[in-house]
């Protein structure tokens, strides 16, 4: 069990309209960990991340980040406390250049970092973006767009980064590059909560994982233990 909890989710329930999607999620992420949420399509992984970020209108339960309960707080207040979120399907802003996408990630920081410095820092971490700063973001490949989405979330310096299926639809070479990057980020002090369909890949990078099914946590353990447990993987993660 983690000792120094950064994020604690307790009894989290969420609804879309009248459908009761999350029925009581409990999970913890400790400072410096990579924690992974796995489970079948529709299990509630995305909704869990969205609820933590404040994007689901109707939720109940507790979402404690660094000692403060976030439930009821607006998205921007959660961001200001250090939550970063890379939603599924990348969501880079189509009409904007790579640089403007990055600037957008920085605006909320309210001049805490100089724009040029912050963009240069991202360009160093993501060489692929450095070459394309003034290019329109849609001209890039899926993997590069995903890198941009991650850079855009990172540029404001979040302490907990949540990523929803970052490897979805990306060529293997770039997936490896991206997961190397996540390892490096963790070494440099960013805590990561990851949703990932590719179970082997996910358990390969994570410290611990939670398995979700039908809106509840059905199992959780260290990544190493889960990786060795073929029966569990078969039961909850086979697609």
């Amino acid at each position: 069990m983690p000792r120094d909890a950064m994020l604690t989710v307790e009894g989290l329930q969420a609804w879309y309209g009248s459908s009761h999607v999350l029925q009581g999620i409990d999970l913890e992420v400790a400072r410096g960990e990579i924690v992974c949420l796995i489970g079948r399509n529709g299990a509630g992984k995305t909704t869990t991340l969205r609820s933590v970020m404040g994007l689901v209108a109707r939720v109940r339960g507790r979402v404690v980040f660094d000692g403060a309960d976030l439930v009821g707080r607006p998205v921007h207040a959660r961001h200001a406390r250090g939550l970063g979120y890379v939603p599924e399907e990348r969501r880079i802003v189509q009409g904007l250049s790579v640089r403007d996408n990055l600037r957008l990630g920085l605006l909320a920081a309210g001049g805490r970092r100089r724009e040029a410095d912050a963009i240069a820092a991202m360009a160093e971490i993501f060489p692929r973006l450095a070459e394309r700063l003034d290019q329109s973001a849609i001209t890039m490949s899926g993997g590069e767009q995903q890198m941009l989405a991650i850079a855009r979330a990172l540029i404001s310096g979040p302490r907990l980064l949540m990523l929803d299926e970052p490897s979805e639809g990306i060529m293997p070479l770039l997936v490896d590059e991206m997961f190397d990057l996540l390892r490096r980020l963790r070494e440099e002090g960013t805590t990561i909560l990851l949703v990932e369909q590719n179970v082997e890949l996910a358990l390969g990078i994570a410290d611990r994982a939670y398995i979700l099914d039908q809106g509840t946590v059905v199992h959780h353990d260290t990544a190493a233990a889960l990786l060795a447990d073929a029966a569990i993987q078969e039961r909850y993660c086979a697609v």
Partner: protein, 294 residues
């Protein structure tokens, strides 16, 4: 048809651009509100009318046209911001029909208040003295005031473009018009941005109404027909697209102007025929995103 010389047609196209300029100002605001806030603003015509009546009132207190040109869009923009904060904000996230119905009702309230305050009669509105007369534009004499309307719209477009392209606020608005949720996720307090957008949208509507007043006078229901046309422009240009609003606005202006030349009674119909044709060929409009309404 003997009278249809190339020069006459060119003049009529030019007149269409002046008309289109007013549509552009209206449609820009509607498109911004829809793109960012998913608010279909049925009160946009009422704000247009308030632009004209605000000027009537201010002129009555001894103001001149130039003062109006500056203050009226500002004042109506502030009214728009108050409306957003008090009436519309509680409805965000409840689906498109709530703000639609609210603004529909609000339009009636505003129009009735103006009827009570100013009477139901059309009021004349003088062209400012410095802008009367006509100037030679090479193909013939064109009313100076209409040139002025085109020029003001051009200046506003350049100003709006600079604001959108060169400022942080503009970046947020451009991004938010395409994907409001991303802007939220990146930690931006969208409530403040939406307030500003509402102010800009309603201020532009007021400017359009003020500029139109010397051409057609002021009447409480002057916003009705322009609202319908501005909807067409927004749809043809592509909901949420500002460039689309500009091009479609000018196009619709020219279509109205040319149709009035040959069959004045068909001018309004022509606008809707244009919309039907565009939607058949390209359901999302010139620059709209496909599936926005689904």
């Amino acid at each position: 048809m003997a009278g249809l010389t190339p020069d006459l047609l060119a003049m009529q196209v030019f007149a269409g651009l002046a008309l289109g300029a007013v549509y552009v100002l209206m449609a820009l605001g509607m498109s911004l509100l829809f793109g960012m806030l998913t608010v279909v603003n049925f009160a946009h015509g009422a704000f247009y009318m308030l632009g004209a009546y605000g000027a009537v009132a201010l002129l009555g207190y001894g103001g001149n046209f130039w003062v109006c040109l500056f203050f009226i869009p500002l004042a109506v923009g502030l009214v728009g911001m108050a409306v957003e904060r008090v009436l519309i904000r509680p409805l965000y996230g409840r689906g498109i029909d709530y703000p639609l119905l609210l603004t529909f009702g609000l339009a009636y309230v505003i129009v009735e208040l103006v009827r009570i305050g100013f009477g139901t009669e059309d009021l004349p509105f003088d062209t400012p003295a410095a802008l009367t007369g006509a100037v030679n534009i090479g193909i013939g004499y064109f009313p100076l005031y209409r040139l002025f309307v085109i020029a003001v719209t051009g200046v506003v477009l350049v100003g709006l473009w600079l604001f959108l392209e060169r400022t942080s606020y503009g970046l947020i608005i451009r991004a938010g018009a395409r994907d409001p949720q991303i802007v939220r996720i990146l930690g931006i307090d969208v409530g403040r941005v939406w307030l500003v957008v509402f102010g800009i949208g309603t201020g532009l509507a007021a400017l359009a109404g003020l500029l139109a007043a010397p051409l057609q006078g002021a009447s409480p229901d002057m916003g009705d027909s322009i609202l319908a046309i501005a909807f067409v422009v927004t749809v043809v240009g592509g909901m949420g697209s500002l460039l689309g609003a500009v091009l479609a606005g000018l196009l619709v202006g020219v279509v109205v102007s040319l149709t009035s030349l040959v069959a004045p009674e068909a001018a309004q119909v022509a606008v809707f025929v244009l919309m039907a044709v565009v939607l058949l060929v390209r359901p999302q409009g010139f620059f709209g995103r496909a599936g926005l309404m689904s």
